[in-house]
C-alpha cells in the first residue's frame, strides 16, 4: 500500500524497511510503524478472532482499548499489536484461531450465541453435577485468550524507578503540557506521563486551526518542544499510567526503545499534587456487527492517515456524533479517500463552518442518522444507515465505516483515586464533582472542546497544583481563572441513542463478546446496577477494562430503566488500567545475598555454596552430601566452621541489664565473670523466639549472640519490648563487624595453642568459659568454649577484617592435626547427634520453651522484670495437648525418614524435625515433635513418608543426647 508523504504530521520513516513475519508469511513495514499499522499497510484486515464467538476482529481504535489486535508476538501471547513498535524479525501470530484468521474452523461458534445467554457459564454448567467435569474441560479448551507454553521463559530486562516530584501530570496532550509548563515556571519539579511515544495528544494529527492560521499539530509540536526543553519537567513517553492510589501515588509502566537499558520499566511516582489530563476516547456506536473489520473509530482512521500515511480504504461512510467526525471526514477526503456520506447522530448543534465545508466537497450529510448494520461476512462490504427513529434507511457499498457515537472522558485515573463522578446531561460525560485532595482535572475530559479553552484549563490546573506545593501563584491563578471563564465552556455532547433495530450481534464489549441482548437478558433477570451487570455479563472485565463498554454500559442500563431519576453510574476500575507484563511488576531479577568474610576462602577450599536465608553459605565441602568425612573428622581430629552469620550484638548503658532481663527468660543479673550464659528469648505467648549466649565484658556492658535468622530483628525486638520504659541503653548490631570461626574437635586446643598468647589448658579456660586474647600477636580474639557440635570447641569471634587471616592461620596450624572444613550440613548432623536444637528446625510458631525441654532456662523469680513470655510460660507449663520434642531411633538403621515426614497412628500425631543417618553411632536417628502421650521413652512411632507408600517406617523414642550423653567430650 502506498503511503501518503509530505504530511507534517507523519511519524514514519519510509526509507527504513523492516521485515517481520505474521502467521508464517514475510511482510515488510517501515520505521515508525506499529505491528498493527505495518500489517494494515500489507492488506491484513483480520488480526485475530474474538474470545467466545470467534468473530473476525480488526483495527478499531489504535489505542489498545480492546483485545481486537492482541496477538502472539515472539512467544508472548496477548501483546497489543497497535501499541507495539515494529522491530526487525518479529514473529507475529494471530490468536484464538484454529486455521487462519480468515478461515477459522471455530467460527461456527458465532452461530451458537443462542446457547450462550448472559451468565450461561454460571447458570447452566452446574446441573447435573455429573456433567461438570466434562463441560469444564470443554469450556476451558475453548475459553481464554492466547496460549502460553508451560516452558516459556520471559526474556528481557525489567527495571523499576521510584521518583518523587512536586507535580505529576497524567497525559501529555495540550492540557497536560500547559499544566506542566505553568507549574514548572514556578521552579517546581514536574513529571509528565504520556502513553503514546510522543507528546501532543489529540492535537498531534489534527490539521484544523488552533489560532490565527496555526494548525493544531503545529501547536502540539511547539508545546512539546517547550516542554521537553524545560529542565525541571521530566517527560516519560510510551508510559501508560496503570494505577492511582491515595497520597497521590501514581504508578505507570514505560516501554523501552532500542536505546534504553530496559524492555519495560515500572514507575512509581510520589507527587505532592496531581493533574489528570487524560483527555477522551470515543464512545463506540452500537449497531449490528459494529466490530466487523472495516469498522473503525474516528481517531483510528485519522491517525492511520495522518500519523502513518495510510488511507484506511477506498470508499468510506462516516457515522458519527461529534464535530471531530466531520472535521476528520473533510481532512481524509482532502487526503484522497472517497467519502460516500457522513451521518451525524445529532439533529443539530454542528459547527456551521464544518457543515459548509462538507457541502463544498459535495459530501452528503445526514442529520439525525446513524449506522444500524454492517454487512459482509468477514470484512465490511456494505452499510445500512437509518434515521435515529428507524423510519428511513439507506445503504452504501463501502470498505470503511468510521463509526463513533461521541466522545467520552478517560476517567480511569480519577475513578481509581476515588474521585466522585456524576453524570452530566449537557456533555453526556461523567464529570468529576469531587476530587481527592491535591488532585486536579484539566482539558478535554472535562467536556471542553475549544483549543484555547483546553490550553487555558491546563494552565489553570497547573497553577492549582503549584499552589498545592506552596508556590506563590495567587495573582496568576486569579488571572488564569478569569481567562478560563471568558472562553467557551463545555460543549453539548451527543445523546445516547439505542439503535432502532432488533439485533443479535450488537456488541457492547468486544473483549468478552457481550451484546446488547446479553445486557437485556441480565436486566430481565432483575439485575439493575451496572456494576453487577458487568460481573454477570462479563462486559468490561476483559483486558480493555473500561475502554469499549465503560460508558455505553451505564448509559444503556439507565436508558432501559426509562426512569429519568436513574442517573448513570460508572463502574469501578482496578489496577492495572492497561495490561502489563507481570515481569514489569516483578522488576529486575537481582539475587541479593550476603557473603561472609571468608566466602572466597571457603569456595577455594571446595565449599559448595547455597542460599540459606539472606546468606550464601558453604553447605558441603565435597560431592558426598552425606558429609561422612567432614563429620567423622570433627569427631576424631578437628574441624573448622564459618559461623559468621550468627547475630552479634553489644548492649551497654546503665539500664542495659534491665533490657536483658526483659527479653531473656534467664536471670541475666547472674552472669559469672569469664563465663558465657546460655539463654533463650520467647515471645509473649511463651513460644521460642531465639537462643544464644551472653557475656558480660564490663560494668553495664554485654556482648551476646543470636541465631542467624534473628540477627535483623533483635534490635527492634529489644526496643519494642522496652518502648514504654525510657531506659538508658545503647545497642549495636555487630553481626557484620565480627566474623566467627568454630574450631571443634579433640585436637582443637592443640591447633589454637600454636599461636595463642594465653594459657588454653582446661583449667585456665574451661568449658563455658569466655576469654579475650591475641593470636599471632596480632589478631584480637573473643573466644567462647561452647559445644554446639558436641566436641571440645572454641568459638572465635574476630573483627571481620581479620577473618581471612585467621582462616589461613588455623588451616596452617591445624595441618598436622588433620584439620578440615565442615559445612552447614555436617554441623546439622553433629549438633543433632548431640540433641541440640536449631530454632525453626526443632521448633515452629507454636512451640514453647517447655515443649523443647528448655524450661529450665526460665527464671521465674523476676516478675518485676516483666519478662517477655514469662506469664505465658507459667500458663503453659502444665498445659496438656502440646507437641513435645523427643529423640528417636529408627528400627531399621539403614532407613532415614525425610525431614518433615509426619508421625501417625489413625491420626497425625506429630512430625519429624531433623533425621539423619549417624555415622558416628551407626544408627539412623532424629528429633521429632510429637503429642505428649507419645513422648515417653520406648514408645513406638510410626512415620508416614510419601515415598514409602502404604508402608510405615518404625521408630522408637529414645533419650537425648544420642552422642556423649554425659557431655565429657565438651569438657576435655
Amino acid at each position: 500500500m502506498n503511503r501518503l508523504s509530505q504530511l507534517p504530521t507523519l511519524r514514519i520513516n519510509p526509507a527504513e524497511k523492516i521485515s517481520f513475519s505474521c502467521n508464517g508469511k514475510i511482510y515488510q513495514g517501515i520505521g515508525g510503524d506499529t505491528i498493527a499499522t505495518a500489517l494494515y499497510a500489507n492488506g491484513v484486515r483480520i488480526f485475530s478472532r474474538s474470545m467466545k464467538y470467534h468473530r473476525p476482529r480488526g483495527l478499531y481504535s489504535l489505542d489498545g482499548e480492546s483485545s481486537n489486535t492482541f496477538m502472539h508476538i515472539d512467544g508472548i501471547p496477548n501483546v497489543c499489536a497497535e501499541k507495539t513498535a515494529l522491530k526487525e524479525g518479529l514473529a507475529v501470530k494471530a490468536q484464538n484461531i484454529k486455521g487462519s484468521p480468515e478461515n477459522d474452523l471455530l467460527s461456527f461458534m458465532d452461530k451458537l450465541h443462542w446457547a450462550m445467554p448472559a451468565g450461561f457459564y454460571y447458570r447452566s454448567m452446574h446441573k447435573p453435577a455429573i456433567i461438570w467435569p466434562f463441560a469444564m474441560k470443554q469450556v476451558r479448551k475453548m475459553a481464554g485468550l492466547g496460549k502460553i507454553s508451560p516452558s516459556f521463559i520471559m526474556h528481557g530486562k525489567y527495571d523499576e524507578i521510584y521518583p518523587q516530584t512536586d507535580v505529576c501530570i497524567i497525559g501529555g496532550g495540550p492540557a497536560g503540557m500547559s499544566a506542566a509548563l505553568a507549574a514548572a515556571k514556578h521552579g517546581l519539579r514536574v513529571i509528565l506521563i504520556e502513553a503514546r511515544p510522543w507528546l501532543g495528544g489529540g492535537y498531534d494529527y489534527r490539521a484544523s486551526e488552533y489560532d490565527s492560521g496555526m494548525p493544531l499539530h503545529q501547536r502540539a509540536r511547539d508545546l512539546a518542544k517547550k516542554t521537553e526543553e524545560t529542565p525541571n519537567i521530566r517527560v516519560f513517553t510510551s508510559a501508560a499510567m496503570v494505577g492511582a492510589y491515595n497520597n497521590n501515588l501514581i504508578t505507570a509502566f514505560q516501554v523501552g526503545s532500542e536505546n534504553d537499558h530496559y524492555n519495560e520499566r515500572y514507575i512509581e511516582v510520589r507527587a505532592k499534587s496531581v493533574v489528570v489530563a487524560t483527555g477522551c476516547i470515543e464512545r463506540p456506536l452500537l449497531f449490528e456487527n459494529n466490530e466487523r473489520p472495516g469498522v473503525m473509530q474516528i481517531g483510528c482512521a485519522h491517525r492511520l492517515a495522518r500519523t502513518y500515511g495510510l488511507l484506511p480504504g477506498t470508499k468510506a461512510v462516516f457515522s458519527i456524533g461529534h464535530d471531530l467526525g466531520i472535521e476528520t471526514a473533510i481532512d481524509i477526503h482532502d487526503l484522497g479517500l472517497k467519502i460516500l456520506c457522513v451521518a451525524d447522530i445529532r439533529e443539530d448543534g454542528q459547527n456551521p463552518k464544518l457543515v459548509a465545508a462538507l457541502k463544498e466537497r459535495s459530501i452528503p450529510f445526514l442529520r439525525g442518522w446513524l449506522a444500524i448494520k454492517a454487512h459482509g461476512r468477514k470484512i465490511l462490504k456494505k452499510v445500512t444507515l437509518s434515521t435515529n427513529q428507524g423510519t428511513h434507511h439507506r445503504e452504501y457499498n463501502c470498505d470503511i465505516l468510521v463509526a463513533s457515537a461521541g466522545m467520552t472522558p478517560i476517567t480511569g485515573p480519577l475513578i481509581m483515586a476515588k474521585a466522585e463522578l456524576t453524570y452530566d446531561n449537557h456533555t453526556g460525560f461523567f464529570l468529576p464533582t469531587k476530587l481527592p485532595a491535591k488532585m486536579h482535572a484539566a482539558g478535554r475530559l472535562l467536556g471542553l472542546n475549544h483549543p484555547l479553552t483546553i490550553d487555558a484549563s491546563g494552565r489553570h490546573a497547573g497553577l492549582l497544583a503549584a499552589a498545592d506545593c506552596a508556590a506563590d501563584v495567587q495573582g496568576e491563578l486569579k488571572q488564569a481563572h478569569e481567562i478560563l471563564d471568558q472562553l467557551p465552556g463545555p460543549e453539548r455532547g451527543a445523546r445516547f441513542v439505542i439503535p432502532p433495530v432488533k439485533n443479535q450481534k450488537c456488541f457492547i464489549c468486544f473483549d468478552e463478546d457481550t451484546t446488547i441482548k446479553n445486557i437485556d437478558q441480565a436486566l430481565q433477570m432483575g439485575f439493575d446496577v451496572p456494576e453487577l451487570i458487568k460481573r454477570f455479563t462479563a462486559a468490561g472485565t476483559g483486558p480493555g477494562q473500561w475502554g469499549i463498554p465503560g460508558h455505553n454500559l451505564p448509559l444503556y442500563v439507565a436508558q432501559c430503566h426509562g426512569d429519568v431519576d436513574v442517573s448513570p453510574k460508572p463502574t469501578m476500575l482496578r489496577s492495572p488500567l492497561v495490561p502489563t507484563f507481570i515481569a514489569t511488576y516483578a522488576g529486575a531479577n537481582h539475587d541479593m545475598y550476603k557473603r561472609t568474610p571468608v566466602h572466597d576462602s571457603q569456595k577455594k577450599a571446595g565449599g559448595i555454596m547455597q542460599r540459606i536465608g539472606i546468606w550464601r553459605r558453604a553447605r558441603y565441602f565435597s560431592e558426598d552430601f552425606s558429609c561422612r568425612d567432614e563429620i567423622l573428622n570433627v569427631r576424631k581430629n578437628v574441624g573448622m566452621f564459618d559461623a559468621s552469620t550468627l547475630g552479634k550484638f553489644r548492649i551497654w548503658g546503665p539500664d542495659a541489664l534491665k533490657a536483658l532481663q526483659r527479653v531473656y527468660v534467664g536471670d541475666m543479673s547472674r552472669i559469672p565473670p569469664g563465663k558465657v550464659k546460655y539463654s533463650a528469648m520467647c515471645n509473649d505467648d511463651g513460644c521460642l523466639a531465639d537462643d544464644g549466649v551472653v557475656v558480660k565484658r564490663g560494668e553495664d556492658d554485654y556482648y551476646f549472640t543470636t541465631s542467624t535468622s534473628r540477627a535483623e530483628n533483635t534490635v527492634e525486638w529489644f526496643r519494642y519490648h522496652t518502648r514504654y520504659d525510657g531506659w538508658d541503653f545503647h545497642m549495636v548490631n555487630l553481626t557484620d563487624a565480627f566474623g566467627v570461626i568454630n574450631l571443634a574437635g579433640p585436637n582443637a586446643r592443640k591447633v589454637l595453642e600454636k599461636t595463642a598468647d594465653t594459657d588454653l589448658s582446661n583449667e585456665a579456660f574451661p568449658f563455658v568459659g569466655y576469654r579475650e586474647f591475641t593470636l599471632s600477636e596480632t589478631i584480637p580474639v573473643r573466644a567462647m568454649r561452647l559445644g554446639f557440635v558436641g566436641e571440645l570447641s572454641y568459638e572465635l569471634h574476630v573483627p571481620s577484617s581479620y577473618m581471612r587471616v585467621l582462616w589461613d592461620l588455623l588451616n596452617k596450624s591445624g595441618e598436622e592435626w588433620g584439620i578440615r572444613n565442615f559445612g552447614m550440613e555436617a554441623q546439622n548432623v553433629l549438633r543433632m547427634e548431640k540433641g541440640h536444637i536449631i530454632i525453626g528446625s526443632e521448633s515452629e510458631q507454636r512451640t514453647t520453651l517447655h515443649d523443647v525441654g528448655l524450661g529450665f532456662l526460665w527464671y521465674r523469680k523476676k516478675p518485676e522484670a516483666k519478662t517477655v513470655g514469662s506469664f505465658a510460660l507459667k500458663d503453659t507449663e502444665q498445659q496438656k495437648g502440646r507437641l513435645k520434642l523427643v529423640g528417636f531411633k529408627m528400627d531399621d538403621s539403614s532407613r532415614t525418614p525425610e525431614d518433615g515426614s509426619i508421625i501417625v497412628d489413625s491420626e497425625i500425631r506429630g512430625f519429624v524435625c531433623t533425621a539423619r543417618h549417624s555415622f558416628t553411632l551407626g544408627e539412623s536417628i532424629g528429633l521429632a515433635l510429637v503429642e505428649s502421650h507419645l513422648a515417653k521413652e520406648g514408645t513406638q512411632l510410626e512415620i508416614f513418608e510419601a515415598s514409602a507408600g502404604d508402608k510405615r517406617l518404625n521408630a522408637t523414642v529414645v533419650p537425648t543426647p544420642f552422642y556423649d550423653p554425659e557431655g565429657n567430650r565438651l569438657r576435655m
Binding site: 492510589y245 501515588l249 509473649d684 516478675p863 500458663d875
Partner: protein, 86 residues
C-alpha cells in the same frame, strides 16, 4: 505502597521502610493479678477501629526508632493527632 509515615527523626518516608507494631495499648501490665483473659486481651485483642487510631511503627530501614503515630484505617493515610485523643 501509598502509605507514608512520618518518623520523628527521619521525617516523612515511604511506608515500606517501617514495620507495624500494633495499636497503642499502654505499657505491659504487672504480672501480679494477671489472668488468662486479661493477658490475652492485652497481647492479642484489638478494637479494629474504622477510623483514626494511635499505633506503633518501627523505622526498620532507617534510624531504628519505635514511635506512635495516628492513622485513619479507612483511608490508610497517616493523619494529624486528633483534637480529643480517644
Amino acid at each position: 505502597m501509598a502509605l507514608t509515615i512520618t518518623c520523628p527523626i527521619c521525617g516523612k518516608r515511604n511506608g515500606y521502610e517501617f514495620r507495624y507494631g500494633g495499636v497503642e495499648k499502654g505499657p505491659r501490665p504487672n504480672e501480679e493479678g494477671l489472668t488468662h483473659t486479661s493477658w490475652c486481651d492485652y497481647v492479642h485483642m484489638n478494637e479494629c477501629v474504622a477510623g483514626i487510631q494511635q499505633e506503633w511503627w518501627f523505622h526498620r530501614d532507617g534510624c531504628g526508632v519505635w514511635f506512635t503515630t495516628y492513622r485513619d484505617t479507612t483511608t490508610n493515610l497517616e493523619v494529624e493527632k486528633p483534637e480529643v485523643d480517644r
